[in-house]
Symmetry: C2
Subunit: 367 residues, 2 copies
């Protein structure tokens, strides 16, 4: 029997993903205990923007009502630097779970890793910002031996990053990556240009998506394509392309020029119907070829071409046939002449948290 | 910097998968060296049925022409027991790569693991034999801390086993698993009952599949459904069902009763046209409902029902729309209400070996 290793965990961010994660973490901790695992989790800190709950002596915080206790905490709020120092001084290996989407936190990753603290996160910012930050993160991790896992930064809990890493690490040559990488865009186009039937007006579908909670508070934050561009940046880099930033390749925005600078998301939605004919024309043009339009991202590794925008697909194409708000990601490689395809829910608190929990298990097994 | 750990590797089996694996192993070994990995691979033994090439003093065998040198080896052939003892006595941790499909080797896994030797294999036999062998394997691994990975035992290199394990280990509840698990069956039905056009005669498609090398030497070894039943047994057990054996649930054989006992595969193919009307009737019955027939396996976890056989699908269903000899595996879970789907080449030496190489990397990182 290998001796039991204690591992200290700090969780920052308590939004939708953060709350779902804390609940999954409690389940994981119980399973590790009942399965006589060689790893024992001790949560020693949880925090959100203005609140910190932590255990100064590194004794584990009890799981019951952790979110409520955090909300009620009267402990002094720790700064990010203080959190890092607290973890670095822990009497065993430690892991920072970053459930925020903060660029400020992401910018600290190289320092966190340099101190031997591993990172698990769904935060896209660290891996889709400047190429220098990407390089700093992975060289810092290589030097200290700390791990950094970010499955949920693309396709939530779907095994996208792990599959791409496996392809590359086993010596396969990835030639093309293509797919629908946004649950919001998937929902919008599956409703607006369905493979059967005619679909609603564009502005009506955007309004409906917002009402269902499928868009950001201001839908323009989805329609500008940047979220998809960030995911493509991450995948392209993993496939070996040194992409400089998510704005260094063509990204098609679906925001009419005239509405780019209106004051609010509500005003945007109010004025969007005036521009419905633009999208209708694109849809009709595709229909004349027997096709439908979809908002996709693609990476041609050999040609070093990354792009994000509208493309036409045959109705029988897997990308056209997608349902609901599902994502689909297709890898064409030297070994996989017919693509390796992964498909399913690519957004949502529970499945995003599941990707984080899965990564945490993988890091635990490697510490 | 963590110190470099030497890990000893023995590879048994040098068929299609074994040869592709040795080539990938050479690449992996070089990448580990150039990336200053904390792991160093030393291949100390390769063997196939009647030949063994090994390094009695545990110094690494050079990679160049390993297959040829094995074929030309004049060293005394080691028995499986001798190979295990040789690995157990190695001066560092060791991994047995079993690229055979041998039940005899599989039966030894509990003893191998008990000695602290990890196992990586595409061999289905160990995980789809008796439930007692399954239990012995995993309890033996838990006791010694040795690892056992077998991604390629289902869907070759497709991330099927790892995805299912992640779902279970993160606390999701898998309610249904369904799909096409055989490249041979996929090819046969995609040709015999295509979603567009009419397809050829059943016996002609079977003959063509054999000529293309898509079937076993005797096609009945594919048509009896046992290969699919073995894969379903593995997935059902991982999902928590204590399936006793691959013959303990309904499996539909596509071998006409009258041809079960004919002497050879050739005689079988010769007489198969006499029974074409049986398959034609099934195809036509489905067509009347606007559907196509496919050979699928399914696991209803809640109802504890596992079955393998022909089913009808709408032409637009992802299982119907499969192409070539691709596999498709769909997981319905509590978190994934719309299924998580994995699709792509599920057979072939290169992709099967890639699953083995990927597992080897995962075990190396955990030793």
């Amino acid at each position: 029997m290998t001796p039991v290793k204690d591992v200290f965990i700090a969780v920052i961010g308590a939004g939708g993903v953060g709350k779902a994660f804390l609940s999954q973490l409690e389940g994981l901790s119980q399973r590790l205990a009942t399965q006589s695992s060689s790893r024992k989790l001790s949560v020693i800190l949880v925090s959100r923007s203005t609140k910190t709950l932590y255990s100064p002596q590194y004794s584990p915080l009890p799981f019951d009502n952790l979110s409520t206790k955090l909300a009620d905490s009267t402990q002094q709020t720790l700064s990010l630097t203080e959190v890092i120092d607290f973890l670095a001084a822990a009497p065993a290996k430690s892991i920072l779970i970053d459930n925020t989407s903060s660029q400020d936190v992401a910018d600290q990753y190289p320092q966190v890793l340099a101190k031997g603290i591993s990172i698990v996160t769904p935060n896209k910012k660290a891996f889709s910002g400047s190429f220098k930050l990407w390089q700093d993160i992975f060289s810092s991790a290589a030097a200290s031996g700390a791990k950094v896992y970010h499955e949920s930064s693309v396709g939530a809990g779907l095994p996208v990053i792990s599959t791409l890493k496996d392809l590359v690490e086993t010596g396969d040559e990835v030639t093309k990556i293509e797919g629908v990488f946004s649950g919001t865009m998937s929902f919008l186009f599956n409703s607006f240009a369905p493979t059967e039937g005619s679909g609603g007006k564009w502005s009506a579908e955007v309004t409906k998506a917002k009402e269902l909670g499928y868009t950001e508070p201001d839908p323009r934050d989805d329609l500008n394509g940047l979220d998809v561009a960030r995911k493509l940046t991450i995948l392209a880099r993993l496939a070996g392309l040194p992409v400089e930033s998510p704005t260094s390749f063509p990204v098609q925005s679906l925001i009419p020029k005239e509405l780019e600078s209106v004051a609010s998301g509500d005003e945007f939605l109010q004025k969007l119907p005036e521009f419905d004919s633009q999208m209708e024309d694109l849809k009709n043009a595709a229909e004349k070829e027997g096709k439908v339009i979809r908002f996709v991202g693609s990476i041609d590794v050999a040609k070093k071409v990354v792009k994000v925008g509208l493309e036409k697909f045959d109705r029988s194409h897997p990308i056209a046939a997608l349902k609901g708000s599902d994502n689909i990601i297709s890898f064409t490689t030297k070994r996989y002449a017919s693509p390796l395809i992964i498909q399913g829910a690519g957004a949502g608190g529970d499945v995003t948290a599941a990707g984080v929990t899965g990564d945490l298990i993988k890091v635990l097994e490697r510490l």
